[in-house]
Symmetry: C2
Subunit: 366 residues, 2 copies
Amino acid sequence: VRTVAVPLGQRSYRIKIAPNLVARLGEECRRLKLGPRCAVLSDTHVARRFAKSALTSLKRAGFEPFLITVPAGEKSKSLVTVQHCHDKLAAHRLERGSFIVALGGGVVGDLAGFVAATHLRGIAYVQVPTTLLAQVDSSVGGKTGVNLKAGKNLVGAFHQPCLVLCDLDTLMMLPEREYRSGLAEVIKYGIIRDATLFRQLERNLPGILARDPKVLGPIIARCCAIKAKIVGRDEREGGLRAVLNFGHTIGHALETVSGYGRYLHGEAISIGQVAAVRLSEAALGFPAAQAQRTTELFQRAGLPVAAQLNLAARRSLFNAMQQDKKVRGGRVRFVLARRIGSALPGQEVADSLIHRVLEAILSRKP
Amino acid sequence: VRTVAVPLGQRSYRIKIAPNLVARLGEECRRLKLGPRCAVLSDTHVARRFAKSALTSLKRAGFEPFLITVPAGEKSKSLVTVQHCHDKLAAHRLERGSFIVALGGGVVGDLAGFVAATHLRGIAYVQVPTTLLAQVDSSVGGKTGVNLKAGKNLVGAFHQPCLVLCDLDTLMMLPEREYRSGLAEVIKYGIIRDATLFRQLERNLPGILARDPKVLGPIIARCCAIKAKIVGRDEREGGLRAVLNFGHTIGHALETVSGYGRYLHGEAISIGQVAAVRLSEAALGFPAAQAQRTTELFQRAGLPVAAQLNLAARRSLFNAMQQDKKVRGGRVRFVLARRIGSALPGQEVADSLIHRVLEAILSRKP
């Protein structure tokens, strides 16, 4: 079992990475000194495969779990679903010492985290991320939230989990497209903070694509460690933490205008990162040869690096970017990179340059 | 202008108590160094009287305010209304530096605070409480939230305001019943922490009922100071803060079973406090003569000290108490008092005693 610590004072917690962790959920939770009553929140797909194992393990450890399932997919990240979950928790009389287990991908984690943040003004929760994307990104760091029609994650709270269990076995079940989508966030860590990791990914891509646990374990742990360090220094996104959003300003907007669901999150931020690298070339002198390597790595991972949008869609994309949470004084602020391994948040870029890059990347056949 | 400081480190803020503060809202907000965009959230009743003055003042100070109104009444404390408010904020493109002004009573304050806590994972808000209840209680301390069918305030967050402005003029407009309801919380501070305040209330009740600002100013400031001190020592209700819930366990349950709206909050907790005093007599030796004085003070303030509920309603009331947020291990925990001026949280009481007291108080003609 690999363990990564997230250093946040009283709110510190551990991330564990290993096979077969769902079956050990109960004993892991027992160390947390929480009350017996708990809810396992999952989506219908994940619940079918893993809920029984999770519930059995919790019961064997002396807990009184019950299951809440929501439909799989981004649509469950809504205030309507939040209300549904709260009503269920109240019906089962969760108390302040009770906790929630988020068993699923990013949607379930963000939703369950937000419900935990707001039930009885905050109860504990444990993340059991079952997708690559959730294991390396959304399950760590305490960002929780749901979507509005106007944009993703516009409603939410900072609420740290008390434990994260990354079970490598769950990745074996992922559809190919979803698995590859997760690699977009893995590559992101290389670009923003770790040139060595980036080279490892270039070298070991076949093993990664084959989901070899021996290759994956250390890589997932490294991604979590990078995120843990950044979150530990900037829990509430005062500045530094924004580097984690490399590629996300354009990626989120692309998700919004193309309708949630056409692009998986990782696909959208793959395109967003390619765009951010282009902006970085023009604005911060990101080397052209490294730009080439990033595009190639995304492509080898089976991720899109361009999209074909008509003029109207490109215009509404620019508009959707204004809705980004990092906008200040009406100006969009980008995370850009100086080179592979070094990104900087808070960069303002001329509108003309943004338009030029969007034209280049979003009118091209992907 | 009387000023009370709430000491919470980086989250410290001031409560100001004076006439004519709504008209000075803009200049007060200017000192907070917030962004220009802001939303004034109010209910239709309060907005009719005060929104124009608030918006004018904000505009004159250079802000770009817009108004969101919700229907007056407890029904607006719902996740449906929360969604409505979030959609409005997103449509007006509030940014992380933007803020919300809660202009109204406890419903508006709790709702606006929760919306602020969860919009973009937390933006600033200013409380402008316009009822006595909100001025002495709900606007201070950062408890925000909305109701579920299963009970009051079951969904919420701790989120401190950055300023509280108690405009004494707004109290002049209150309907008599609502004003008297607020006195239940004022009397509570005397019972839980301040025998001197309690005697002042006994002595000055005529001036208080006449809403004389010279009498009210110091009393409201004293209530806020007591609450500020308690909140400063226990922001997230680890233990001490629970004393503020004196009378609320039974009071909240009474509100739930009688349908929101039959009793005003202050009326319900007036009955709840009389019940808590009775429990205190039996469990902690609260002096009978003082018990008599508390009942008399509530009565002189025009507040109910008993209710007539049928057997079925009394049973469901006992049930509703189990839903209280302070329940631990299925046991209800009461705040009880040893004497006027000294209350203790976390007291467990035998079910038989609870039933006896409820029988005595809730089957009597009020």
